[in-house]
Symmetry: C2
Subunit: 353 residues, 2 copies
């Protein structure tokens, strides 16, 4: 990346902002959760509201609201006119109403904030040292179903925001060649298996996942009436010698490989390659940091990497497309298609070399 | 404050940055503590260092350093050239080497980060709800001497950075009229009492503070050989009816009133006024948010207010000069001098009306 020119005085200001960033973040979370942003915005037509009016409406102390709004004004989140009436700035508006910003903020606060305190330890130890703030598990995947409801909601909202909507596009690509048997690797809640069965009446799906997730997935698919066409096998990709059988027309891995280290990904791809014949398609969907159209999206993915480091598993990340290509090549796979999907995703179709 | 013009796309970018700010903050803390910033800067003359070189020198995993440097590059803290060599940007340089930024960052991480998670609760309850992350006290002042060494160091470094150096200037003003008896309200470690005794051989100092602090202060002043000229009385300003005796030529309150709410300050100033005659000078030193020459300083003071809210006592802040003037007036005091002191402070000399 080329260096961006910045004046020394502006650089110092930016360094100061970073050094006090948690204050601004928590100020924003508080103003949002206390309903202050909403109330200010609802009163934009009457030219803003004063501190006293906000306090009365929302039953907050003048002291408490005062310290929040002073920080928010200095951070250009709200503005105050000469009569003491507050309005949201554009930044304040986006903080409260932009869906991606909201999803990110809730994920940061509810899932990541406390655990991130241990980021340095996580890097030193190669373990998700911050996960203890949420519970006593080795990885977050073990604990997902036991998270507090509001933490779980923020986790799933984040997960879904960056993956919903791509299945429709992906299904068309998956079923170009009318696969009869599809292996869904990391089937999670069975969401994709259900969509496959609904999309094509002949396909059979075999889900591979950890025991806990598999149970949930098979229950969900059966409830949707696809019990006969969806089977499953337990697998732990971190075990000594994981195996999947031959016979699939398509092997599907969507936002699955980013949960593993490069060494683990190579093992998984080699295992898949061993189960493939010359016709089998391996479809990989990921959000690659070097394939983002917008800086914001790249920035979010890099933050997600730090979530993996500090909280999820301690050793995975959002990769560059180039890195995944190298790993696929090393596993004996050839990239046949490279397709942009939705706003953030890329779909690779691989075949055996 | 007038509204700053900002384009919608830049406002959205800024909102995204705020929503993920804790990731950037913790990335910075980790890179600093792991020695990465130092090592990169030491190699600026040879045109930067690669990720592999940094990992080998500092024994960090390529994975761990990779996720940190990706985030740091997107945040314009480091830059990477086409050969993969990293350098610090100006922002990165200031983050690692600017004294005020360092002091703020250590204070934020070691003292405030975890407690700030509870800011919203602190506002709702009017109590320092985040203090439990450091220990089981009602206010941080009770626990100061029991903080972990590194937390205590960051607290005192922050405190001293914004107060050291002003005593020299202040002493000249205090001793213009050669006071014989000075009341040091909130004498803390006895630092100011010692300086008074060293500056003027005739002055007697009487320290008023909580029992724990007073003991420390009297021990320190005695050790410096001023035991005969420094006495003390226990006082709890939050008690029903605190009293100080008459007889002082000067009453001194330096960075003391910001530890109290407006109601409490009014009570303290009235108590002082009752003990004053027409000649007594009350000297108040504070860092006022509306008296700062630099945006950075105002921003730091507003963050300090949030530290008071979430961690220290739940009800005090860095005030505007205007607010303190109103309180002094309401307490029956008249402002005689209004003097700028050092980079951040203001000294008020008040007399009884």
């Amino acid at each position: 990346m080329p260096k961006k020119y910045i004046k020394a005085i502006d650089a110092l200001q930016e360094a100061q902002k970073i050094s006090l960033a948690p204050f601004v973040f928590q100020t924003t979370v508080s103003l949002k959760n206390l309903g202050v942003f909403d109330f200010i915005f609802q009163n934009v037509a009457k030219g803003g509201v004063t501190l006293t009016e906000i306090c009365e409406e929302l039953s907050i102390s003048e002291y408490g609201l005062g310290v929040l709004l002073e920080m928010a004004e200095s951070s250009n989140i709200v503005s105050m006119d000469e009569r003491g009436r507050y309005e949201l700035t554009k930044i304040g508006y986006f903080l409260n109403y932009n869906p991606m910003t909201q999803v990110n903020m809730n994920f940061t606060q509810d899932v990541c904030y406390q655990g991130l305190f241990h980021l340095e330890d996580a890097i030193r130890e190669g373990k998700p040292a911050g996960l203890k703030e949420l519970g006593s598990w080795k990885t977050i995947y073990e604990g997902l179903s036991q998270l507090k409801p509001e933490v779980q909601k923020s986790w799933f909202d984040f997960d879904h925001f960056y993956s919903d909507g791509i299945f429709d596009e992906a299904l068309k690509i998956v079923f170009r060649h009318e696969p009869k048997l599809l292996f869904d690797i990391g089937g999670n809640t069975g969401k994709f298996a259900i969509q496959c069965c609904a999309y094509n009446q002949d396909v059979n799906v075999h889900i591979f996942d950890l025991p806990g997730q598999l149970k949930v997935a098979l229950k969900n698919t059966a409830e949707k009436g696809f019990g006969e066409r969806v089977q499953g096998s337990e697998i732990d990709w971190l075990s000594e010698n994981p195996k999947i059988p031959a016979g699939a027309d398509t092997i599907w891995m969507s936002q699955f490989l980013d949960c593993f280290s490069k060494e683990e990904i190579l093992k998984i791809l080699k295992t898949a390659a061993n189960a493939m014949d010359s016709q089998t398609e391996l479809i990989i969907i990921e959000t690659y940091t070097d394939r983002q159209k917008f800086e914001n999206a790249k920035f979010t993915l890099e933050a997600t990497s730090l979530y993996f480091t500090a909280l999820a598993n301690g050793n995975s990340k959002m990769y560059k497309a180039r890195e995944l290509m190298e790993l696929a090549d090393a596993a004996g796979l050839e990239l046949k298609d490279d397709i942009s999907l939705g706003e953030f995703h890329t779909l690779f179709v691989c075949k055996k070399k």
